[in-house]
Symmetry: D2
Subunit: 335 residues, 4 copies
């Protein structure tokens, strides 16, 4: 039974708190948030203490591991502090919006073997994982093409967009990681990106972002990968992976909240909308991600999704932005 | 190249004329209908002669085979005449609404080996047939339960209902045959039926019919069969078979006129309506039925769907009506 | 926060204990099982006390409500004791295998207003409930036909069968209740049943049961209902409802553990198996059932699924057995 | 009733001959092929004359219109001859593999108003067309992203590949046209392409082609279009279009030869393979394409799919090849 501290008590923090509390292998022991009300809410719900500053957590000998679910710009600092304190850490993505900061963090923790897991929860979605495992086992022969579709139900606020780092760092980052997950070592080496503000053209000037993007990548062995993202899908949160191989195809498709199908005039077998958003769609993935973290920490093993995965996904986002600027394929070589 | 005469030039007659003309193994040579305008329409469309009476067809040495698509009460007479004339016949279902007339017809043709095929076209539907063949081959182990769903898009006219012989003889007759087709020799021996006028309650008194029915049958070996019919399905002509076996399940499901799927607010993957009605849904079945008839006649073989199949389906309808009257299971023994 | 005692610590008891513990509105306070090891297992897992006899629970002023998840023959006694003690009770189905015992229990509690909820959890399945609510709201016009499919993945043991009361009381009982749920007051008044031992013919003699059944019912207003059950479906636990109305159709279809679809030689869009069995398939329904019980008890309201629903489902099972014996429709009049 | 001559009697020519003969508005009157046996086969099947050279057709006053289904390098010559002879022409795609030849042909016929239709049959597929019409009508709001999937069941022969002009001119050409069809005037102005020989790497050197390609385009208004092609899909000929809009999504999905679904151990609702290849999948589209040609010629109207559409699709293929060479987006401006 590991005693867990939570840094960051917003929406995603509350989800982590609930998962920690529901897991027989972990217990929530302390929470911190610079906004005291946020911390108190979780404190009350779970009957745990709040602390006044993060340092109180890192110096607390009772705490076995920490979850970093705070604002992005604090992630690298907290990772470094956790490593210095010898506390395993599950850190939400991205590590930082500035890849240089990620590199200094990487250097700072280079000599440590404290377990670090980056919160790419989608890797733990049962469907996505079964697809990946089947690809790796050769069920569809040699993988040829990978198409990742990821669309949000509705755009975020302008405030959110202003601090999110751009669609490729904020949204596509998950798909860069899923691409690497399915490619399983055959790393993307070429990136080409297109992006536009089509849903809400006004965001192009301020906050200066796009809301639709397609990224075409090629792996070291020549496999073709397409990611397509949109910030709005009126029919719901759309999360699909399609893998074509020489011997067949696999799709990890959407989940629905119930199995209702409607039939009427000019309508057959119409489903209702999909699971609302990532909290609902990936709730099982979040839970399994936590199982995996606990298992790795308990066994003293390196987590399956490590710091370097966070770094590589960001590298692909950087390459995609460079492609947007240049209108050409950007090649990635060794880091 | 067989020369074919058509008796009966209504809607189903026109379909047969088109199929005969499109098949390289047959040629339409003469048509007859008591309503001259109906005959002339097909005559003009296909450039064939009309005749003034059916006898002119049976005595015409040029005619190799006949299709009986005339009013139901003429079927038995035409079958007997065709047999006397030695002309193979494809006769639309049912043979007659009066099972006694079917028995006298059966007796009258008992000594003949002129090929007779009854128009249970659904047996030739590629999906239904693949289901049946897979069941017979043991793909789902031992067959346990069979559920046949057959619903029309909209009710027929009162005029039609007055001469159709009742829902069980007019509509369920196809499903009785499909049940026997899939059971492949393990004949139904018990029949229980429920029927109601629910869609249009006024038909209960006049024409005196029902529009929803469920028929539960048991085969000689104990397998359970459910047929459900309704005269109205706003989402389209609904034609499905489900076969449960000890090792798996098979469904022969509906066909759609195109592959369009719609996604919108509270809607995912909604199809458009199904193929409009039997002419569209079973057009391939009608065509393959004709191929089978030509192949049997050419090879001098007994057609796969014979007179006795027409008789047995009607026996099941009679048993179902008896069950409606008595409120109990009706047992069928040897004929 | 209601304090809950659990009577019966088998598989279903463990599920209830977990649900009680996870719900912020309830807390598990005591457990009892005649097999001490079973009680201790839950006691340890949840940190609650065990008691030596059921009476200790009913006399415990700290206990706010009880869950009866013990052997069927104890249900009626426990309900009566709970009512005498003034403790609301959620009791697993069936109330008793002997309908006379249910009637004496009914009489014994007739004057009480202690909330009693019978564990027909499937009513709380989001899909089934959405179908029922849509039917009641008239979304498909007037309901015409209802087809309920319920098949277990694999047969139970002979030992289980010997004490289960027969397939119609043990398995179909859920579907009788679902039929009543969807019919929403238009009660079934005619029952016809067929049943066979087809999967394992040897059970016909001992334990003396059947493994495939179809039950055809008619409601007071003439609607047709078909229930089909099988004790084995190799493709998984199959739970479907289909409702045909004058204006459309609704299906509550199966759930899959992930969204994987496979495509290969002669295979397109093949899903993996369904949710394993009722614990997995209806886990959300069990949880929502508990929410509903807590809400009713807290608000002092009569639970939505009451003692009478348990009685009526059993009455339908009795009628179905009578139909099996007589080979005819059994009419149900007022109770 | 138009009298039609067919130039080119290979596989696609036979299909056209059959369609012409089956259509009440047209009659096959003459056929030509440089390989006499090919012409004789169709001549015999349809009872029409063969001629010794194409000129005999263009000078035949009896011929109302011509179909060009001959080798690609003859298309432009035949179009020019047909125009000089004043005979409407339906010409198979592509007009020529050399875009310069297409331009000289375009110049040669510039002053003519003889109807010319290019054989982009997929525009007439009922599903694809319904999708396009719905997009144009605004059913999904403003179109954002378009994903066109087109995969052959198995690679062609090396001989075929040597004369086909490369995957982008031979296979993707259809998808370039479909993209333009759905975009409905919002022309693609940027093209980026990736292509690899992944299925059969040996074709990279000889015939010097690729077998997997992804092409990412942007329209004048910024919409994003992805085409993905593969020369092999073991599960069958895969033809899909997905259109995402601000208000919803539309998919034109695959067709299956029957409605069979299989359920077994670890398998639910598995379909059989799709329609075999383009002859089967697009048979209705070929037929409707011919209807449209006849209607345009009869009404003296310009066909919906004209010479310029053939030219524009080839321009996109040329741009895609240029992108392959340069690794960057290629911009198309006015022609």
């Amino acid at each position: 039974m590991l005693k867990i501290a939570l840094l960051g008590c917003g929406r995603i923090g509350r989800l982590h708190a609930h998962i920690v509390a529901s897991n027989p292998g972990s217990r929530l022991a302390a929470v911190f948030d610079p906004v005291p009300e946020a911390a108190v809410a979780i404190s009350n719900a779970h009957g745990v203490k709040t602390v006044d500053n993060a340092e109180a957590i890192f110096s607390d000998g009772e705490i076995d591991a920490v979850i970093v679910a705070s604002a992005t710009q604090t992630h690298s600092d907290f990772i470094e502090q956790a490593v210095r304190a010898g506390k395993p850490v599950l850190c939400e993505k991205p590590i930082d919006l500035d890849i240089e900061r990620v590199r200094t963090c990487q250097a700072a923790i280079a000599d440590s073997d404290v377990p670090i897991q980056i919160g790419f929860n989608r890797r733990f979605d049962p469907g996505h994982r079964e697809l990946r495992d089947a690809v790796v086992k050769g069920e569809i022969g040699n993988l040829l093409q990978l198409i990742i579709t990821s669309r949000d139900p509705a755009p975020p606020t302008y405030d959110y967009l202003r601090s999110a780092g751009g669609i490729l760092r904020d949204m596509t980052i998950h798909d860069f990681d899923i691409a690497r997950f399915v490619l399983a070592g055959d790393e993307p080496v070429e990136v080409f990106a297109a992006a536009n503000a089509l849903i809400d053209p006004s965001i192009a000037s301020d906050p200066g972002d796009n809301d639709c993007t397609m990224v075409l990548m090629r792996s070291a062995s020549g496999r073709q990968v397409l990611i397509n993202n949109a910030r709005q899908a009126k029919y719901g949160y759309d999360q699909r992976i399609e893998a074509l191989g020489t011997e067949g195809m696999l799709q990890s498709s959407n989940r629905t909240p119930n199995g209702i199908l409607r039939f009427g005039t000019n309508l057959t077998a119409g489903g209702t909308g999909y699971e609302n958003f990532f909290i609902e769609r990936y709730q099982e993935a979040f839970r399994l991600q936590w199982d995996a973290f606990l298992a790795a920490v308990s066994a003293g093993k390196t987590p399956e999704v490590g710091f370097n995965d966070g770094y590589e996904a960001l590298r692909l986002a950087e390459a995609a932005y460079e492609s947007l600027r240049s209108g050409r394929t950007v090649s990635l070589s060794g880091q």
